[in-house]
């Protein structure tokens, strides 16, 4: 068990500032769902550094990201399984 970043889409979609994805050190890890207007995390790419949490809390001031145990995720999105298909996302990956 380990911690990964998890984005509260209800909070994020209010502004969807897209800041966290610009500061995550890992490529294609915080993805952006254009239809649902929210960021979400590809958990198989997340290394658990918590940089995004600081960005959302201190820079964006939206407090939408928390670190949670990977086992506690209801429908984790894994990029290696699903591939990169923005047209299919549409809020399906809370």
């Amino acid at each position: 068990m380990y911690l990964v970043a998890h984005i509260d889409q209800a909070i994020c979609s209010e502004t969807a500032c897209r800041l966290c994805t610009q500061y995550c050190p890992e490529a294609n890890t915080i993805l952006y769902d254009n239809a649902a207007k929210t960021a979400f995390v590809a958990v198989d790419r997340c290394k658990g550094c918590e940089i995004c949490v600081g960005i959302c809390d201190d820079l964006a001031k939206h407090h939408a990201i928390k670190m949670i145990m990977i086992n506690d995720l209801e429908s984790p999105f894994e990029l290696s399984k699903e591939g990169f298909h923005p047209e299919k996302w549409d809020g399906k990956h809370p």
Partner: protein
Amino acid sequence: MSFKNISITPGWEKYMTKEYQDLVERGPYGKQKKVSEMGSFKEVLEEHPMCAGCAMTLFIRLTMVGLPNPEHTILIGTAGCGRLALTQTSIPFIYGNYGDTNAVASGLKRGLEIRFKDQAKDVVVMAGDGGLADIGFSGVMHSWFRKERFTTIMLDNEVYGNTGGQESGMTERGALLKMAPKGKMFDKMDMIGLAQTSGVAYIARLTPTNPTRVASVVRKAVLIAREVGPTFIQAYTSCNIEYAIPTPKVMDDARDIESKRYGFMEIISDEAKAYLESIEPAKKVKK
């Protein structure tokens, strides 16, 4: 080495990995992507073994977005942490022996100019402070004196990160490291001054605190190197392992170091400025 080479031969799609197909269909080719679009296009960087929360990883990621023509770019790296990610991009990568990067890049760029007369090819060296300021120092300086047309990007974590914490010429005076237990006894080398002395056409020093700025600096450096002369970017990319920075604090550290001593600065020659204005007349070019 061109979008044509990257594209999949019709009928062979099903034999290619998902990652590859995604890259061809939704990658940053043809039209340069913006930092604000990150998360919505497939980046050229794949999974890699660099440490969690490494600022160097972030800088490399942003650099890939800044490349004006990734499909016509060749990266050159060497021993050191950065190559762990640089080898996992869909951009051709050449491993120059430690110390050889700028000699390899010189020959490569000259060869490309002969081979591809009608298509500009960009050569970008990305290596550590140890690789460029210490062991590769003479190669770097001579490539600048010879006005070789490629970009040199120093991933300046102020330490030999990959080999466990030796001091480099770019380490700050007094810094305590595992293999510099009494503290470094000499000043940080002034690579910016040396770049100026040797006539580098565009010089920038920055930290990763502003992602859009990183991409824009890389773009300028690569475009200027294409036609005008050597360009140099010195980027503070902290090593959270050797400097014991907790990963959630990595960006705080970058902001702190930026405001205390690293800053953001650009030095651009008149010729380079005129060139940028000639190719991007619509946009106002910053001084």
